[in-house]
Symmetry: C2
Amino acid sequence: MSFKRTSITSDPKAIASTPDALDTFVPYLMNRIARRYNVGVEDKVRSKGLNVPRLRVLAALAVEGSKSVNDLSVYAISEQSTISRLLDQMTQEGLVERKPNPNDNRSRVISLTPLGYETYQSTFPIMLAAEADMMQGFSPAERAMALEFLQRMLNNIRQSDI
Amino acid sequence: MSFKRTSITSDPKAIASTPDALDTFVPYLMNRIARRYNVGVEDKVRSKGLNVPRLRVLAALAVEGSKSVNDLSVYAISEQSTISRLLDQMTQEGLVERKPNPNDNRSRVISLTPLGYETYQSTFPIMLAAEADMMQGFSPAERAMALEFLQRMLNNIRQSDI
Protein backbone atom coordinates (compact mmCIF):
# COMPACT_ATOMS: atom_id res chain seq x y z
CA MET A 1 0.00 0.00 0.00
CA SER A 2 2.35 2.75 -1.14
CA PHE A 3 3.15 5.06 -4.00
CA LYS A 4 6.27 2.96 -4.56
CA ARG A 5 8.65 5.86 -4.47
CA THR A 6 11.39 3.65 -5.88
CA SER A 7 9.57 3.85 -9.21
CA ILE A 8 10.52 7.47 -9.92
CA THR A 9 11.49 7.25 -13.58
CA SER A 10 11.36 9.24 -16.75
CA ASP A 11 8.50 7.09 -18.03
CA PRO A 12 5.29 8.74 -16.76
CA LYS A 13 3.23 5.61 -17.42
CA ALA A 14 5.46 3.64 -15.06
CA ILE A 15 4.89 6.24 -12.37
CA ALA A 16 1.18 6.57 -12.83
CA SER A 17 0.46 2.87 -12.85
CA THR A 18 1.92 2.24 -9.39
CA PRO A 19 -0.01 4.20 -6.73
CA ASP A 20 -2.80 2.29 -5.09
CA ALA A 21 -3.95 4.49 -2.21
CA LEU A 22 -3.97 8.18 -1.32
CA ASP A 23 -3.51 7.50 2.39
CA THR A 24 0.14 6.58 1.99
CA PHE A 25 0.93 10.06 0.66
CA VAL A 26 1.96 12.32 3.55
CA PRO A 27 0.74 15.68 2.17
CA TYR A 28 -2.63 14.15 1.32
CA LEU A 29 -3.17 12.95 4.90
CA MET A 30 -1.97 16.29 6.21
CA ASN A 31 -4.52 18.17 4.09
CA ARG A 32 -7.34 15.80 5.03
CA ILE A 33 -6.60 16.20 8.75
CA ALA A 34 -6.08 19.97 8.61
CA ARG A 35 -9.33 20.43 6.69
CA ARG A 36 -11.34 18.27 9.09
CA TYR A 37 -9.90 20.12 12.10
CA ASN A 38 -10.65 23.52 10.53
CA VAL A 39 -14.23 22.62 9.58
CA GLY A 40 -14.86 21.17 13.05
CA VAL A 41 -13.55 24.23 14.87
CA GLU A 42 -15.29 26.64 12.52
CA ASP A 43 -18.61 24.89 13.16
CA LYS A 44 -18.14 25.58 16.87
CA VAL A 45 -17.17 29.27 16.64
CA ARG A 46 -19.48 30.45 13.87
CA SER A 47 -22.11 31.49 16.39
CA LYS A 48 -19.53 33.87 17.92
CA GLY A 49 -19.07 35.57 14.53
CA LEU A 50 -15.68 33.91 14.11
CA ASN A 51 -14.07 31.77 11.43
CA VAL A 52 -10.71 30.06 10.93
CA PRO A 53 -8.81 33.08 9.55
CA ARG A 54 -9.98 35.24 12.49
CA LEU A 55 -9.11 32.50 14.99
CA ARG A 56 -5.63 32.22 13.54
CA VAL A 57 -5.01 35.96 13.95
CA LEU A 58 -6.32 35.92 17.52
CA ALA A 59 -4.24 32.86 18.49
CA ALA A 60 -1.08 34.10 16.78
CA LEU A 61 -1.23 37.46 18.56
CA ALA A 62 -2.23 35.95 21.93
CA VAL A 63 0.52 33.33 21.89
CA GLU A 64 3.32 35.04 19.99
CA GLY A 65 2.65 38.67 20.98
CA SER A 66 2.29 41.81 18.84
CA LYS A 67 3.54 41.39 15.29
CA SER A 68 4.13 43.31 12.08
CA VAL A 69 1.61 42.57 9.33
CA ASN A 70 4.27 40.61 7.43
CA ASP A 71 5.19 38.36 10.33
CA LEU A 72 1.55 37.96 11.30
CA SER A 73 0.69 36.72 7.81
CA VAL A 74 3.15 33.85 8.36
CA TYR A 75 2.08 33.03 11.92
CA ALA A 76 -1.60 33.26 11.01
CA ILE A 77 -1.12 31.18 7.79
CA SER A 78 -2.74 33.89 5.71
CA GLU A 79 -1.81 35.37 2.37
CA GLN A 80 -0.54 38.93 2.64
CA SER A 81 -3.15 40.02 0.11
CA THR A 82 -5.98 38.84 2.35
CA ILE A 83 -4.63 39.60 5.81
CA SER A 84 -4.71 43.39 5.38
CA ARG A 85 -8.40 43.29 4.58
CA LEU A 86 -9.00 40.86 7.45
CA LEU A 87 -7.12 43.10 9.88
CA ASP A 88 -9.19 46.10 8.76
CA GLN A 89 -12.36 44.14 9.57
CA MET A 90 -11.00 42.90 12.90
CA THR A 91 -9.97 46.47 13.81
CA GLN A 92 -13.53 47.66 13.13
CA GLU A 93 -14.83 44.78 15.23
CA GLY A 94 -12.59 45.93 18.08
CA LEU A 95 -10.56 42.67 18.18
CA VAL A 96 -7.16 44.09 17.15
CA GLU A 97 -5.49 47.48 16.96
CA ARG A 98 -2.50 49.04 15.22
CA LYS A 99 0.11 50.45 17.59
CA PRO A 100 3.54 52.08 17.11
CA ASN A 101 6.31 49.47 17.11
CA PRO A 102 8.16 49.89 20.43
CA ASN A 103 11.41 48.91 18.67
CA ASP A 104 10.94 51.19 15.68
CA ASN A 105 8.82 54.32 15.91
CA ARG A 106 8.46 54.55 12.14
CA SER A 107 6.61 51.22 11.86
CA ARG A 108 3.51 49.76 13.47
CA VAL A 109 2.54 46.44 14.93
CA ILE A 110 -0.79 44.66 15.31
CA SER A 111 -1.91 43.91 18.87
CA LEU A 112 -4.90 42.28 20.48
CA THR A 113 -7.38 44.54 22.21
CA PRO A 114 -8.79 43.38 25.57
CA LEU A 115 -11.88 42.21 23.63
CA GLY A 116 -9.65 40.32 21.22
CA TYR A 117 -7.84 38.63 24.10
CA GLU A 118 -11.12 37.75 25.78
CA THR A 119 -12.40 36.28 22.52
CA TYR A 120 -9.23 34.20 22.18
CA GLN A 121 -9.67 32.98 25.76
CA SER A 122 -13.22 31.86 25.02
CA THR A 123 -12.19 29.96 21.89
CA PHE A 124 -8.88 28.45 23.03
CA PRO A 125 -10.58 25.56 24.87
CA ILE A 126 -12.44 24.70 21.63
CA MET A 127 -9.15 24.43 19.73
CA LEU A 128 -7.59 22.45 22.54
CA ALA A 129 -10.52 20.02 22.63
CA ALA A 130 -10.30 19.58 18.85
CA GLU A 131 -6.60 18.76 19.19
CA ALA A 132 -7.40 16.29 21.97
CA ASP A 133 -9.92 14.55 19.66
CA MET A 134 -7.31 14.35 16.93
CA MET A 135 -4.64 12.94 19.26
CA GLN A 136 -6.86 10.40 21.00
CA GLY A 137 -4.93 7.23 21.82
CA PHE A 138 -1.51 8.86 21.48
CA SER A 139 0.78 8.25 24.46
CA PRO A 140 2.76 11.28 25.70
CA ALA A 141 5.86 9.83 24.00
CA GLU A 142 3.98 9.35 20.71
CA ARG A 143 2.59 12.86 20.92
CA ALA A 144 6.09 14.24 21.47
CA MET A 145 7.37 12.25 18.49
CA ALA A 146 4.48 13.43 16.29
CA LEU A 147 5.30 17.04 17.23
CA GLU A 148 8.96 16.51 16.45
CA PHE A 149 8.11 14.99 13.06
CA LEU A 150 5.80 17.90 12.21
CA GLN A 151 8.38 20.48 13.31
CA ARG A 152 10.98 18.80 11.08
CA MET A 153 8.58 18.77 8.12
CA LEU A 154 7.80 22.46 8.57
CA ASN A 155 11.51 23.26 8.86
CA ASN A 156 12.11 21.36 5.62
CA ILE A 157 9.64 23.36 3.54
CA ARG A 158 9.07 26.73 5.17
CA GLN A 159 10.17 29.79 3.27
CA SER A 160 10.46 32.24 6.17
CA ASP A 161 12.45 32.03 9.39
CA ILE A 162 9.24 31.93 11.40
CA MET B 1 7.66 25.09 25.37
CA SER B 2 4.10 23.81 25.45
CA PHE B 3 0.49 24.81 25.81
CA LYS B 4 0.57 23.05 29.19
CA ARG B 5 -2.48 20.96 28.54
CA THR B 6 -2.65 20.11 32.24
CA SER B 7 -3.85 23.66 32.87
CA ILE B 8 -7.34 23.17 31.45
CA THR B 9 -9.41 24.95 34.04
CA SER B 10 -12.53 27.02 34.37
CA ASP B 11 -10.43 30.16 34.83
CA PRO B 12 -9.84 31.51 31.31
CA LYS B 13 -6.94 33.70 32.46
CA ALA B 14 -5.10 30.62 33.73
CA ILE B 15 -5.59 28.96 30.35
CA ALA B 16 -4.66 31.90 28.25
CA SER B 17 -1.57 32.83 30.21
CA THR B 18 0.18 29.49 29.69
CA PRO B 19 0.84 28.93 25.97
CA ASP B 20 4.21 30.16 24.83
CA ALA B 21 4.56 28.88 21.28
CA LEU B 22 2.26 27.90 18.42
CA ASP B 23 4.62 25.20 17.19
CA THR B 24 3.74 22.85 20.03
CA PHE B 25 0.12 22.75 18.86
CA VAL B 26 -0.38 19.83 16.46
CA PRO B 27 -3.19 21.30 14.31
CA TYR B 28 -1.26 24.53 13.89
CA LEU B 29 1.81 22.72 12.52
CA MET B 30 -0.43 20.61 10.32
CA ASN B 31 -2.04 23.70 8.80
CA ARG B 32 1.31 25.44 8.31
CA ILE B 33 2.77 22.41 6.52
CA ALA B 34 -0.32 21.71 4.41
CA ARG B 35 -0.51 25.35 3.31
CA ARG B 36 3.17 25.51 2.39
CA TYR B 37 2.90 22.26 0.39
CA ASN B 38 -0.22 23.48 -1.42
CA VAL B 39 1.27 26.87 -2.32
CA GLY B 40 4.50 25.23 -3.51
CA VAL B 41 2.71 22.73 -5.73
CA GLU B 42 0.27 25.31 -7.05
CA ASP B 43 3.17 27.56 -8.07
CA LYS B 44 4.52 24.70 -10.19
CA VAL B 45 1.26 23.72 -11.96
CA ARG B 46 -0.27 27.15 -12.55
CA SER B 47 1.31 27.34 -16.00
CA LYS B 48 -0.59 24.16 -16.93
CA GLY B 49 -3.90 25.85 -16.04
CA LEU B 50 -4.16 23.77 -12.86
CA ASN B 51 -4.63 24.55 -9.19
CA VAL B 52 -4.88 22.55 -5.96
CA PRO B 53 -8.61 21.71 -6.17
CA ARG B 54 -8.18 20.41 -9.76
CA LEU B 55 -5.06 18.44 -8.79
CA ARG B 56 -6.95 16.80 -5.94
CA VAL B 57 -9.74 15.67 -8.25
CA LEU B 58 -7.26 14.31 -10.81
CA ALA B 59 -5.21 12.47 -8.17
CA ALA B 60 -8.26 11.08 -6.36
CA LEU B 61 -9.74 9.65 -9.57
CA ALA B 62 -6.39 8.37 -10.88
CA VAL B 63 -5.46 6.62 -7.63
CA GLU B 64 -8.83 5.58 -6.23
CA GLY B 65 -10.75 5.05 -9.49
CA SER B 66 -14.15 6.36 -10.62
CA LYS B 67 -16.25 7.80 -7.81
CA SER B 68 -19.66 9.25 -7.09
CA VAL B 69 -19.69 13.02 -6.56
CA ASN B 70 -20.26 12.47 -2.82
CA ASP B 71 -17.32 10.13 -2.36
CA LEU B 72 -15.15 12.27 -4.60
CA SER B 73 -15.82 15.33 -2.44
CA VAL B 74 -14.27 13.44 0.51
CA TYR B 75 -11.30 12.01 -1.40
CA ALA B 76 -10.61 15.34 -3.09
CA ILE B 77 -11.01 17.31 0.20
CA SER B 78 -13.59 19.58 -1.37
CA GLU B 79 -16.88 20.90 -0.12
CA GLN B 80 -19.87 19.38 -1.90
CA SER B 81 -21.10 22.87 -2.73
CA THR B 82 -17.94 23.66 -4.66
CA ILE B 83 -17.10 20.31 -6.21
CA SER B 84 -20.14 20.23 -8.52
CA ARG B 85 -19.13 23.53 -10.06
CA LEU B 86 -15.51 22.37 -10.29
CA LEU B 87 -16.54 19.13 -11.99
CA ASP B 88 -18.63 21.07 -14.51
CA GLN B 89 -15.55 23.13 -15.39
CA MET B 90 -13.29 20.07 -15.56
CA THR B 91 -15.84 18.32 -17.80
CA GLN B 92 -15.78 21.29 -20.18
CA GLU B 93 -11.98 21.21 -20.09
CA GLY B 94 -12.10 17.55 -21.10
CA LEU B 95 -10.38 16.31 -17.91
CA VAL B 96 -13.26 14.29 -16.42
CA GLU B 97 -16.53 12.79 -17.64
CA ARG B 98 -19.76 11.53 -16.12
CA LYS B 99 -20.50 7.86 -16.86
CA PRO B 100 -23.24 5.44 -15.80
CA ASN B 101 -22.32 3.66 -12.57
CA PRO B 102 -21.48 0.05 -13.57
CA ASN B 103 -22.94 -1.12 -10.22
CA ASP B 104 -26.13 0.94 -10.42
CA ASN B 105 -27.55 2.04 -13.76
CA ARG B 106 -29.65 4.75 -12.15
CA SER B 107 -26.64 6.67 -10.83
CA ARG B 108 -23.52 8.08 -12.41
CA VAL B 109 -19.84 8.23 -11.50
CA ILE B 110 -17.07 10.67 -12.35
CA SER B 111 -14.14 9.26 -14.32
CA LEU B 112 -10.91 10.63 -15.72
CA THR B 113 -10.73 11.09 -19.48
CA PRO B 114 -7.49 10.07 -21.23
CA LEU B 115 -6.52 13.79 -21.16
CA GLY B 116 -7.26 13.89 -17.42
CA TYR B 117 -5.10 10.85 -16.83
CA GLU B 118 -2.29 12.30 -18.94
CA THR B 119 -2.52 15.55 -16.98
CA TYR B 120 -2.32 13.63 -13.71
CA GLN B 121 0.73 11.75 -15.00
CA SER B 122 2.48 15.02 -15.83
CA THR B 123 1.79 16.50 -12.38
CA PHE B 124 2.31 13.44 -10.18
CA PRO B 125 6.12 13.83 -10.18
CA ILE B 126 5.67 17.43 -8.94
CA MET B 127 3.60 16.24 -5.97
CA LEU B 128 6.05 13.44 -5.28
CA ALA B 129 9.00 15.85 -5.34
CA ALA B 130 7.16 18.20 -2.97
CA GLU B 131 6.59 15.30 -0.57
CA ALA B 132 10.27 14.35 -0.83
CA ASP B 133 11.24 17.93 0.11
CA MET B 134 8.91 17.79 3.10
CA MET B 135 10.25 14.42 4.28
CA GLN B 136 13.94 15.21 3.80
CA GLY B 137 16.04 13.58 6.52
CA PHE B 138 13.34 11.07 7.51
CA SER B 139 14.58 7.47 7.61
CA PRO B 140 12.26 4.84 6.08
CA ALA B 141 11.26 3.81 9.61
CA GLU B 142 10.52 7.42 10.60
CA ARG B 143 8.52 7.95 7.43
CA ALA B 144 6.49 4.81 8.17
CA MET B 145 5.86 6.03 11.72
CA ALA B 146 4.85 9.50 10.50
CA LEU B 147 2.36 7.89 8.09
CA GLU B 148 0.97 5.71 10.87
CA PHE B 149 0.55 8.74 13.16
CA LEU B 150 -1.23 10.70 10.42
CA GLN B 151 -3.52 7.78 9.57
CA ARG B 152 -4.45 7.47 13.25
CA MET B 153 -5.16 11.21 13.50
CA LEU B 154 -7.39 11.08 10.41
CA ASN B 155 -9.20 8.03 11.77
CA ASN B 156 -9.78 9.92 15.02
CA ILE B 157 -11.51 12.90 13.43
CA ARG B 158 -12.92 11.88 10.07
CA GLN B 159 -16.68 11.97 9.63
CA SER B 160 -17.01 9.58 6.71
CA ASP B 161 -15.81 6.00 6.25
CA ILE B 162 -13.43 7.10 3.52
